[in-house]
């Protein structure tokens, strides 16, 4: 194995170690969510779920970058090169390459790299599927209307917001025909809120970044994100219209229509769950939860944490190298 590959393997092993630790921490914290999550505003719940989904990829990436910082800073002459001070364990460094890894360790890391590739491939496939789906919608849609949505010719009643960068709203002709004008207004306000919140992008990011989580925790986090996003958009529609019950009535009308349409196409299709609708309606029957302005303090806290990583980069780098040496037994 060349030293470049060995170095890549060491970096991958560091990333995997951090990802495993972060995933474990997220899973343990997520298990306690019933105690602190339900009282939050849906907007904040969606933010928490997005953070829980993203952390298992973002945190290890930041930690690995912090670990690589001493070597790069030494190369730039900013401070003493850490790697030169020791030769007794492997280097987590892109400047001072690791000579080689033991064959079994190298094999495991190659397999892990292949698994990475498979995950990436699955994400790309899902993106392609989404693009094809939106292209199909575009083919069967009329021109964009003044109200900022397009009507899709379909016998199935549905509406949705798409677009990772530029949002679009699609409403089926069946839904337009079946809902009253008041109900349709609610649907459009709800979908507009999805576009303004960039929910398609958030969901794509959460799906892509949450892959290190165990399947059960990942499903739970992503489903909480989906529900909280829907509820945040319900709240936005209710605020715009000044009528919470109108939103609840529109959801129930759309649910009835969708249920009837699917049942008429698939005889024997049983009802699955329905807990999301129950939670959305129950939440709309209550007053809107308080939503303190948390975004600015959280952003500051995040940047402070990233700044702190730079300060602890040297000991973190050293401790991680020791751990990897124990784990991989470098040569």
């Amino acid at each position: 194995m060349s030293s470049a590959l060995a170095t890549a393997g060491v970096i991958l092993a560091a990333w995997l170690s951090f990802a495993a630790a972060t995933s474990l921490a997220v899973t343990l914290v997520w298990r306690t969510r019933d105690r602190w999550l339900p009282g939050m505003h849906p907007r904040h719940r969606a933010g928490v779920a997005l953070a829980a989904a993203a952390a298992p990829s973002v945190v290890p990436t930041l930690l690995v970058l912090a670990c690589l910082e001493p070597g790069l800073a030494g190369l730039a002459g900013w401070h003493r090169d850490h790697c030169l001070s020791h030769a007794d364990h492997l280097h987590l460094c892109v400047v001072h390459a690791t000579a080689a890894l033991h064959a079994p360790v190298a094999t495991i890391l190659v397999l892990a790299g292949a698994a990475f590739g498979a995950v990436l491939g699955r994400g790309i496939r899902e993106l392609v599927r989404t693009r094809r789906y939106v292209a199909a919608l575009r083919c069967s849609a009329g021109p964009a209307l003044g109200a900022g949505f397009r009507i899709v010719a379909s016998a199935h009643p549905f509406s949705l917001a798409t677009g990772l960068v530029r949002g679009e709203i699609w409403v089926s002709s069946a839904l337009v025909a079946a809902l009253s004008k008041e109900e349709l207004d609610v649907v459009l306000m709800h979908e507009r809120a999805h576009v303004e919140r960039r929910d398609p992008l958030r969901r794509a990011a959460a799906a892509a970044l949450s892959f290190p989580l165990g399947p059960r925790a990942r499903r739970s986090v992503l489903s909480e994100l989906a529900l909280a996003s829907e509820q945040a958009c319900d709240e936005a529609a209710a605020r715009s219209l000044g009528a919470r019950l109108r939103v609840a009535e529109a959801i129930l009308a759309a649910e009835r229509l969708a249920g009837a349409a699917v049942r008429s196409t698939l005889a024997g299709l049983p009802a699955f769950g329905g807990s999301a609708v129950r939670r959305r309606i129950a939440s709309l029957l209550e007053a809107e939860p308080a939503a303190p302005a948390l975004l600015a303090p959280l952003r500051i806290a995040f940047f402070l944490a990233v700044g702190a990583l730079v300060l602890v980069a040297d000991p973190l780098h050293h401790a991680t190298e020791h751990w990897l040496h124990l784990l991989l037994g470098g040569r």
């Binding site: 899902e126 993106l127 599927r129 989404t130 789906y133 199909a136 919608l137 069967s140 899709v152 379909s154 016998a155 199935h156 009643p157 549905f158 509406s159 949705l160 917001a161 798409t162 089926s172 649907v187 709800h190 979908e191 999805h194 929910d199 398609p200 969901r203 794509a204 799906a207 989906a226 996003s229 829907e230 019950l245 609840a248 009535e249 959801i251 129930l252 759309a254 649910e255 009835r256 969708a258 249920g259 699917v262 196409t265 698939l266 005889a267 024997g268 299709l269 049983p270 009802a271 699955f272 769950g273 329905g274 807990s275 999301a276 609708v277 129950r278 309606i281 029957l285």
Partner: protein, 134 residues
């Protein structure tokens, strides 16, 4: 070789017979005729040919028991529903869009009729309280 994921369409009677195989388990033509054919005024031959079609579509298996064939479902209800939903997704924009998108109401996770009625009653009650209040 047949593609296991190929699209299979079923008529209403085929679906009813398949439902009966899921619900009642393996059955002879006579038993199926009694359960599905007679209530609908259908001839025994119609039921027999329906079972044969299900076997040809690889949704049912048949084996000789005594002098008659016994039919049993070859796919589970959940596998069939999953396959049927997949066909819908391929054909109909709007039904179960890709994971990255969300619809105003979820088209796969359906609330049952009782849940909907209960929720509608709650909303109606709240509306009446609001409109009848001071």
């Amino acid at each position: 070789m047949r593609d296991p994921h190929r699209k299979v369409t079923l008529g209403a009677l085929e679906l009813t017979v398949l439902e009966q195989l899921w619900e009642g388990g393996p059955a002879h033509v006579a038993a199926m005729h009694a359960a599905v054919g007679e209530p609908r005024g259908l001839a025994r031959n119609t039921i027999q040919s329906t079972l044969e079609r299900l076997a040809r579509k690889r949704l049912a298996d048949r084996r000789k028991v005594g002098r008659a064939y016994e039919y049993r479902a070859r796919v589970s209800r959940s596998a069939w529903l999953s396959r049927a939903l997949r066909n819908l997704i391929d054909e109909v924009p709007g039904v179960d869009p890709p994971l990255l998108l969300s619809t105003f109401v979820d088209l796969v996770e359906r609330a049952d009729a009782a849940t909907l009625e209960e929720l509608e009653a709650l909303v109606r009650k709240r509306r009446e309280e609001k409109e009848g209040g001071p």
